[in-house]
């Protein structure tokens, strides 16, 4: 500890302190939190980041059967809550700083996703990738109680259609099976 302080102090006698800023790369300390950037290949559009964002910097817009997630750095606190909450590590706080601009809406990062449409009413429900992820995890963890056809039914029918009177007995049967399994373990 002490030797590092002496080393740091000796630096000031040997070389100039001033950084040649535009020419050299800026110094980023460990655990530096810069602007969050989406990874289009990994992101599945589950909106966990938008849900936890304390400043509401992440907005979700659903238009023409597509879901777009957008981080606006003009409102972001750089708290890294989105990075913590992301289940697939698709959003990361980069080691860079915001470039100043004359347009305040210029600084942002966006991703867009295709959505699954409801089989019965045609309303968009969840993104295609999110549905795939849920299917994979359900088969892995609850494959012995829930059949693949039932999973498909739940992932392709919207909540309003699912709660209609003709679909309720099926829902109840599944619920009883899950509850019985929960009591046993």
């Amino acid at each position: 500890m002490k030797s590092s302080i002496i080393k740091e102090a000796l630096k000031y006698f040997t070389s100039p302190v001033t950084e040649a800023f535009p020419a050299t790369k800026p110094y980023f300390p460990k655990k530096y939190r810069g602007p969050p950037v989406y990874d289009q290949d990994k992101c599945m559009g589950c909106m966990a980041c938008a849900h936890v964002c304390p400043a509401d910097a992440i907005t979700v817009t659903e238009k023409d059967g597509k879901r777009a997630l957008e981080v606006w750095y003009g409102k972001c606190t750089f708290c890294a809550r989105c990075e913590e909450a992301c289940p697939v590590d698709a959003i990361h706080l980069m080691e860079k700083y915001g470039i100043p601009s004359e347009d305040k809406f210029a600084f942002k990062s966006t991703v867009t996703h295709d959505m699954v449409k409801c089989k019965l009413c045609g309303k968009p429900i969840i993104t295609v990738r999110h549905a795939e992820w849920i299917r994979k995890n359900l088969i892995e963890k609850m494959g012995d109680i829930v059949g693949p056809e039932e999973i498909d039914f739940f992932l392709t029918v919207c909540r309003e259609c699912r709660h209609k009177i003709e679909n309720i007995p099926e829902l109840r049967k599944l619920l009883i099976r899950v509850l019985v399994k929960g009591e046993k373990t």
Partner: protein, 136 residues
Amino acid sequence: MWLYHAPAGGLCNGCDIEIAAAITPRYDVERFGILLAPSPRHADILLIAGQMTKHSRERLLRVYQQVPEPKAVVAIGSCAISGNVFTTDNYPLAGTIDQVIPVDVYVPGCPPKPEAIILGVVKAIEKLEKRTAESI
């Protein structure tokens, strides 16, 4: 180029500390010809950081009117741009800064790195020079 640093009321002082860091020998803004002015009447560029409160609104306007023409305004930090975690319809707050005075350059960050502040001021200087050339 003379700078005047005006904190706009409700803020955590993070951006002010970063502005203070940007004028230290480590970054040495005098290389770019930037100096701090003690009064807005001597200044060319106004640096505004923080979320504007109802009380600071009038003072901010007065400071802006005291700066001689041509002038440029730089808004520093997320609070000055959009209000950050404090929503703009909060009781003690009076909206964002660009609703009251025209802002030329926005510097994002919470707080922005000193490098970003320097780049923002350099951008404002370019804009100011363009404006002076037009006025002559």
